[in-house]
Symmetry: C2
Amino acid sequence: MEPETYAAGVLALQSGVAFPDARIAYVTFGALNAARDNAVIFPTRFGGTHEDNLYLIGEDRALDPREYFIVVPNLIGNGVSSSPSNTGGAFAHGHFPAVSIYDNVLAQHRLATEVLGIERFALVLGWSMGGQQAYQWASLYPDRVARLAVICGAARTAPHTHVFMEGMKAALTADAAWAGGAYREPPERGLRAIGRAWAGWGFSQAFYRAEMFRELGYISLEDFLVRYWEGLYMARDANNILTMLATWRSADVGANERYRGDYAAAMGAIEARTLLMPGRTDLYFPPEDAEAEAELLRRAEIKPIESVWGHYAGGGRSEEDLRFLTAALRELLESD
Amino acid sequence: MEPETYAAGVLALQSGVAFPDARIAYVTFGALNAARDNAVIFPTRFGGTHEDNLYLIGEDRALDPREYFIVVPNLIGNGVSSSPSNTGGAFAHGHFPAVSIYDNVLAQHRLATEVLGIERFALVLGWSMGGQQAYQWASLYPDRVARLAVICGAARTAPHTHVFMEGMKAALTADAAWAGGAYREPPERGLRAIGRAWAGWGFSQAFYRAEMFRELGYISLEDFLVRYWEGLYMARDANNILTMLATWRSADVGANERYRGDYAAAMGAIEARTLLMPGRTDLYFPPEDAEAEAELLRRAEIKPIESVWGHYAGGGRSEEDLRFLTAALRELLESD
């Protein structure tokens, strides 16, 4: 599926960099209705592209394009929107600037309002870093977001996740071939290392105990580590990975000029009917963090995904989780 | 504290290697009483030495040397007993053989019976890999172990822990300076990477959320990552780390010629009164694994350590956890 490109011009990033010729790649499904009240925005997750969001989009799925106008913008740094791997000039490769969730949402807001003519969203949703973007949308533009669904995500990145990411970054950059981002050939050893080191975080203890990777077509644990995890990271660009990690790490709905670091105020500003769907065994976004978030929200409900698929519970690879997500999102869409 | 050395001669390892001139370094506290019924053995954990077991030994601690004869044998590969870093000849450095928990316990058994004159232990205990050795003792020598205490340990290594270890190994060996174990200077980048990557596993989400590292004297998260975690691994030898990881990975009480892979039989053979103390937030040895183990044991009780210190709950760095451990172990020692 070939995405459209929104030429966003110069982005004045939170890091102070004026990033020129920014491009947000996006796809849409369905059409805006006459009442202009059927728009949905569904930003992408870490390492994912619009293709990876298709699990919730379709006639039999949570987001039916016959009924909704669905916009999927790609995260900056994911290799499809502006990224180290596709940027030339002063910001190429290892020189790509730090980009925040807030920076992404400002650009998406311009795309939605100026290009697509959307004034208000029936639903803003996302999985993982997509959920962080959704949170930022609802906090920054309360009157534009009727409903919010955060699937295995968080309003700000927890300290433990920060530690996890430092480990991933260290595994990748332990390979001298990374060369501070100036590699000419991919740092294969480092990419394999980050893939292998990530494996324990993505899925739960119970997932591995039950060898659920067999459901995904892998014949052994080592096969899963090599073909899935190493393969996943070898297909990614090292600087793109580091850019997205930095975006994830700095995520905080309150860290912007509107809320000036006041996290509680940023959360309290959210007017959307909110559905939080943490994964019961998610090692990044544990359910207790969602409970703490709900206390700061006006209209939040928590529906944990009772799954051993860890963080991937939100990704719908397990049919049971996908059914649960689909039913919960449809119910949210039908609510007032 | 300078350890004694038991020259164990040639070890016929499970890997098929005949390892010459093996040395088990150990320390003892107290003396064997006339009834010869007061011996305790407390093997060391991954990366630890006898010095790291002192938290449970002393007049005011769980194991009082006035009352018990306490033996602390060092794990092979820990840098004090025979290890890649202190072995010359054919098995030096990267050529050190694979050593199992079973191999360690066979050597410890000879030390205990042939050198120290111990026929039966009042208690065998350990934290983490020390707990794995304790389990192996109780399974292999049921009539020599009256009581067993496993603190944040397991009778066999879980698949998820295997995945975790693969990640740690990948982070360390992503540094080309590791050179397949033939480094002349320590692979600093890889050692820092494994330290940083390990940080998220050792302590829980809640530990980092509450910044409990401040209780250990670190002034920020980054300070903890650098001074504690990178410092810890920079002080270790890379080949020693890999040897201990391989030992941990292969741990299984049933994987030996006595039980021939029959895990349930190896567990069922244990006659000791058993106390399992998993950490509530331990990411390697979750409490549900202890519950599954208890079902295979004849006389097991589970007392989870209700702590946010993750795996380190068993290490007694938190005073509350240490009090809990101390009381539980004393009660076990006083039981029939």
